[in-house]
Symmetry: C2
Subunit: 276 residues, 2 copies
């Protein structure tokens, strides 16, 4: 299941990139493909595994991997298997700790969690994925690393659909066209048309639902959040089990979610100036 998600997500990402531009990143681009391969794998990969999937000549691949290992982006264990390097953790810890969007949103997420008692998420759109920047659940405001940073599809999450509703029509159309719709549950959108219709509705009303579209038994209500410079286009959501969160209750929570979203954007205006 997790594996399936990762694969699907990987495909989508590469689709969108190959579509969007001529992919002219040269050396770095090739190395990133390898990094993707290794970090998306369920287990450390041997040289031959990577060779089969990367489509590079042996000599070339060997040197590329060596460089990645030298830089600490990959690690080679005693059995000759490649795993993600711990230097990635260091990079991520820094980028997370200092992310302005997250810092500003933090107190408002906590407040929303207090008010509802359910789990609150903050995510932003990157390509066709939602990357979760923060999560507040249970008793105290606490971060579970395993969830933060994870990329999820935009077309079947509340935060994702809320984010899409902020895009101008042309960008939205391009993005939708590149999506490879995977049906996670019976209610997952299976085509751009049905998704587009809902996104228009979301744009009108200002909030979005996830009606068990990504995971059976899980619902959420989300509201869009954006920075004025469009660096961050995302959303916040309240998520929980369907047995506890009736659609009626979610409709009631649409207002507080939108209010919290508004306060986050207000906070950004104050902290970052009117431009952003």
């Amino acid at each position: 299941m997790l594996t399936l998600l990762s694969r699907a997500d990987e495909m989508m990402t590469s689709n969108s990139e190959s579509m969007a531009q001529t992919r002219e990143t040269g050396t770095l681009g090739k190395l990133m493909v390898l990094l993707d391969l290794v970090t998306h794998a369920e287990a450390p990969l041997r040289f031959t595994d990577i060779l089969a999937r990367a489509g590079q000549p042996r000599g070339t691949l060997h040197r590329q991997l060596s460089h990645l290992v030298e830089e600490g982006l990959l690690e080679l264990d005693g059995d000759g298997r490649y795993a993600p390097g711990l230097r990635l953790l260091d990079f991520a810890a820094r980028s997370w700790a200092r992310n302005e969007f997250r810092l500003i949103a933090e107190p408002h997420l906590a407040e929303l969690q207090q008010a509802t008692g359910e789990t609150v998420h903050l995510g932003v759109l990157r390509g066709q994925s939602i990357i979760y920047l923060d999560k507040v659940d249970g008793r105290q405001p606490v971060r579970m690393y395993s969830q933060i940073g994870n990329a999820s599809p935009c077309y079947c999450t509340g935060v994702g659909k809320a984010a899409l509703s902020l895009l101008p029509p042309d960008l939205l159309a391009d993005l939708l066209a590149g999506i490879n719709f995977t049906s996670f549950t019976a209610s997952t959108h299976a085509s751009g048309e049905s998704l587009l219709a809902e996104i228009r509705e979301i744009a009108d009303q200002g909030y979005a639902f996830d009606r068990e579209e990504h995971e059976a038994g899980i619902r959420c209500v989300a509201a869009p959040v954006w920075s004025q410079d469009r660096t961050f286009i995302g959303g916040i959501s309240i998520t929980g089990p369907a047995y506890r969160l009736s659609m009626e209750l979610l409709r009631q929570w649409a207002v507080p979610v939108q209010l919290a979203a508004g306060r986050i954007m207000e906070g950004m205006r104050i902290r970052l100036g009117p431009r952003r």
Copy 2:
């Protein structure tokens, strides 16, 4: 303070690398320098800021940054400032979630936390830094992203000194020679000689203390942990405020910490086979 630490750490890292090898990583190496620059900065950097620090010609730097942005490793906001890219989060979330060493250690860390009531850390040596892989504190086993992944100096942390005690003399000497000793408190080791003496002692007794060497008022007791293939050389520790953790108490805890370390290594032998 944080900035100082980051800088020092950065310097140390590049020292060790230039010492260890001829730094032959070509294109990737140059790009990583830029990534380091941006992720270590306290705030997003403008082009000119990076230009001043990177020592690259304008045209070159511009293209390098563009490539990093295209790959999602950096992000360029509306004000022309470069910040770490969110793709780093995705990479890190994956490498963390699947890290075998951490997965195996997890229950033993929780157990140690239960037994002592204090915060428990797991860290591994990478270059001259300790990278924290996990942390268990307070009531339930919970991850605070802001601490996990952070790199700390090896010469003034319990986990760091425990890890160093596992190195063969020649490697240890090389590593110590490259350290730029920064005095965080009055008790921080200020030279390789004094540190080496303590490390020998630690190697004999099998556990290490941090006597408020990294942060005033914070003590810890640590024990070394390693995988047999030497992929992971690190340690686990119990950390807490000096007023609560007398040196006497820490000495008592040396035994349970060592036992937990032993169980972790036992777990690795079982899960990963005798080789590692």
